[in-house]
């Protein structure tokens, strides 16, 4: 089980209002040059299928609710990777009135990947570090969510 968890991380990418620099680098990871699918990583559009939340950009008052919502919709075990300086600390936006700071002001972050923009190699390294934390996490099997 732990090995499978290590071998098949599905990633949800959320942009909290970054400048798109880090997002382009994340997309670069999917291209033939880096090809993260060789590690079994898939880019998911659905938080309910994701294991790893890749967040770029600083958390601000506008999207903190969305970010928390996405975090809660991701089933355990899950890890959060903050990609880029803005996501780690708020970066160049840290004094803006609407910016709360790093992503860790809103949700717990497991791995920080600094850089402006973070290089694809650094992002892949960060995700591999996150995987080691993912394999150790405990899970309660079923959670009922509000139906109709």
């Amino acid at each position: 089980m732990a090995k499978s968890r290590f071998k098949s991380p599905w990633i949800l990418h959320f942009n909290c209002g970054s400048c798109n620099g880090c997002d382009i680098e994340i997309l670069a990871c999917l291209t033939p040059r880096f090809d993260v699918e060789r590690f079994g990583m898939l880019h998911m559009g659905n938080p309910k299928h994701a294991d790893i939340l890749l967040v770029t950009g600083p958390a601000n008052r506008r999207n903190a609710r969305v970010l928390r919502n996405l975090y809660e919709q991701t089933p355990d075990p899950k890890v959060v990777v903050a990609v880029g300086t803005c996501a780690c600390t708020g970066g160049m936006f840290h004094n803006c009135p609407n910016v709360l700071g790093g992503v860790d002001k809103v949700i717990p972050v497991d791995v920080y990947v600094p850089g402006c923009a973070a290089r694809p190699e650094a992002i892949i390294d960060g995700v591999v570090l996150a995987l080691k934390k993912l394999a150790e996490k405990k899970v309660e099997p079923v959670k009922a969510v509000g139906g109709r």
Binding site: M1, K3, S4, R5, K7, S8, P32, D35, E37, R38, F39, G40, H43, M44, G45, N46, K48, H49, D51, Q73, P75, D76, P77, V139, E140, P141, V142, K143, A144, V145, G146, G147, R148
Partner: protein, 282 residues
């Protein structure tokens, strides 16, 4: 009987390996290295161990129903039972999936479920007409009668075989007819009919899907009995062609799918039956 048991045990492994090969080949066609061939098994085990969000216990039962009906359909096929029952079992599996997707208050799941209904609407007539044309030729709905025929069914029913090839991408959720699950376009449908399934319910559905894939390939193989090896090789070749088509063509709209599958599929099957009637075979 022993052969049927062995085939049933082997089917999920074959199905999983086939989807692994699919992912590897797709990656190679895009000049990427791609995941290992056993990647789908890692995915399945991981999903099984993951937390599941279920909207109601009925949803979990439906996910299990999808898998169970797919497995039962395959077992009936390898036991050489009634073709019509097999077709109905496969549709029951899909009905379970659709009801499961309607089980949550999610627009993406709803849209995916409705599109899955359209997919059913497009391939169901072809399946039933194939069963009917096999009945017209052999005089029985039993799969056993195909084996008793003594010569390959393809000589009499090339049209039905071609029609099955046309619906294969719909059934295997491949582009250009991948309209309900949207494997490659997460921006449009999120994950379509699978959106509200997570953890073990998604694992059950994936497992059932492997069974359906192998069931369909076995159905293609049956047209070549008694030369089974030829059928198996050809089935794999057609699977490979489907992967190429999946990579080459964009996803199309549902009206196109319905029109294309119905016109081409029905013309092929009915044309075949009419030709046989004129020639005096049936």
């Amino acid at each position: 009987m022993a052969l049927a048991a062995v085939l049933t045990v082997l089917a999920p492994f074959i199905g999983g390996l086939l989807s692994g090969v699919d992912r590897k080949l797709t990656a190679r066609m895009q000049n990427r290295i791609g995941p290992p061939i056993i990647q789908p098994f890692y995915d399945l085990i991981k999903l099984w161990g993951k937390q599941s969000f279920i909207t109601s216990s009925f949803q979990a039962i439906l996910a299990f129903g999808y898998m169970a009906f797919a497995v039962v359909a395959f077992i009936l096929l390898v036991l050489l039972q009634d073709l019509l029952v097999i077709v109905f079992m496969v549709s029951m599996a899909d009905v379970c999936l659709i009801l499961g997707s309607f089980n949550a208050k999610s627009p993406y799941s709803y849209l995916g479920g409705r599109r899955e209904l359209l997919q059913m609407l497009s391939y169901e007539p072809i399946f039933i007409l194939t069963a009917v044309s096999i009945f017209m030729v052999t005089g029985s709905f039993l799969v056993e009668s195909i084996l008793k025929l003594g010569f390959p069914l393809i000589f009499l029913l090339p049209g039905a075989f071609a029609a099955l090839l046309v619906v294969f991408p719909v059934e295997a959720r491949k582009s250009p007819f991948d309209i309900s699950a949207s494997h490659h376009a997460h921006q449009e449908l999120v994950r379509g009919v699978f959106t509200e399934f997570s953890g073990f319910t998604l694992a059950l559905i994936e497992f059932g899907h492997w069974f359906k894939l192998v069931l369909f390939l076995t159905l293609l193989t049956l047209f070549w009995t008694p030369h089974l090896w030829l059928g198996v090789i050809l089935a794999f070749i057609f699977y490979f062609i489907t992967i190429i088509v999946d990579n080459v063509f964009p996803r199309l709209t549902w009206p196109f799918m319905l029109k294309f599958v119905w016109t081409v599929g029905l013309i092929l099957i009915l044309g075949n039956l009419i030709a046989l009637a004129i020639l005096g075979v049936i």
